[in-house]
């Protein structure tokens, strides 16, 4: 079974530039998550999709971050304009439909962003 795919793996940009990350979840997984992990910390949820609807985006800095999940499959996370504090690993994850007991959340390898 193919895992969660993310690209690019690494990106270095200057502050105030823009960047986009792409995620392809495990086939059949309706729920998709984007987490931000700053060095030395645990991951923090940015946004959660159920199919192509948003379930939770309470911690997404909406003035600069946006995310979409067209057709309920792939997702893109965009940052514009980037700030130095956005340097982090952006982890995409997916799981089966919310509400099923024993749901496991599977993570991709992450996209490493460095803002200079």
């Amino acid at each position: 079974e193919a895992g969660v795919a993310q690209s690019p793996r690494y990106k270095i940009i200057e502050k105030r530039q823009s960047v986009a990350f792409w995620c392809n979840p495990i086939s059949g997984h309706a729920t998709l998550y984007w987490y931000q992990q700053i060095l030395g910390q645990g991951p923090k949820l940015l946004i959660q999709f159920q199919n192509n609807g948003v379930v939770d985006d309470s911690q997404l800095p909406k003035d600069r971050f946006s995310a979409e999940r067209l057709k309920g499959v792939d997702s893109t996370l965009k940052i514009q304009p980037a700030k130095l504090e956005d340097s982090a690993v952006y982890l995409c994850a997916s799981s089966l439909v919310v509400g099923l007991s024993g749901n496991t959340i599977y993570f991709g390898e992450g996209s490493w962003l460095t803002v200079v």
Partner: protein
């Protein structure tokens, strides 16, 4: 709001010995899940073990087991017969309702040969 606390930023153990990583959490929910994830330098989160709150029996996966104390809101991970490949960051995580994972700060585990 639910919170997860890992009070040990770093732990080390001799190869083949046993180590226990601590985790406490705060919630008002009665039905929830607890997880331990391993994160190697590649940064991919790998599920180690899962515990359902309504199950009294502690979960076990080969060399990994948990000590789940629901009343104390404690969820520790025991790794037996530690191997060099166990070296990684370990994150305790909580999930309820909408399945959002809330993570602790992590514990860096070093295995000494």
């Amino acid at each position: 709001a639910q919170t997860v606390t890992q009070s040990q930023p770093e732990m080390s153990v001799q190869e083949a010995e046993t180590v226990t990583l601590s985790c406490t959490y705060d919630t008002s929910e009665s039905d929830y899940y607890l997880f331990w994830y391993k994160q190697p330098p590649s940064r991919q989160m790998i599920l180690v073990i899962r515990q359902e709150a309504y199950k009294q029996q502690n979960a076990t996966e080969n060399r990994f087991s948990v000590n789940f104390q629901k009343a104390a809101k404690s969820f520790s991970l025991k790794i037996s017969d530690s191997q060099l490949g166990d070296a990684a960051m370990y994150f305790c995580a909580y999930s309820a309702g909408a399945q959002k994972l809330v993570f602790g700060q992590g514990t860096r585990l070093t295995i000494n040969p």
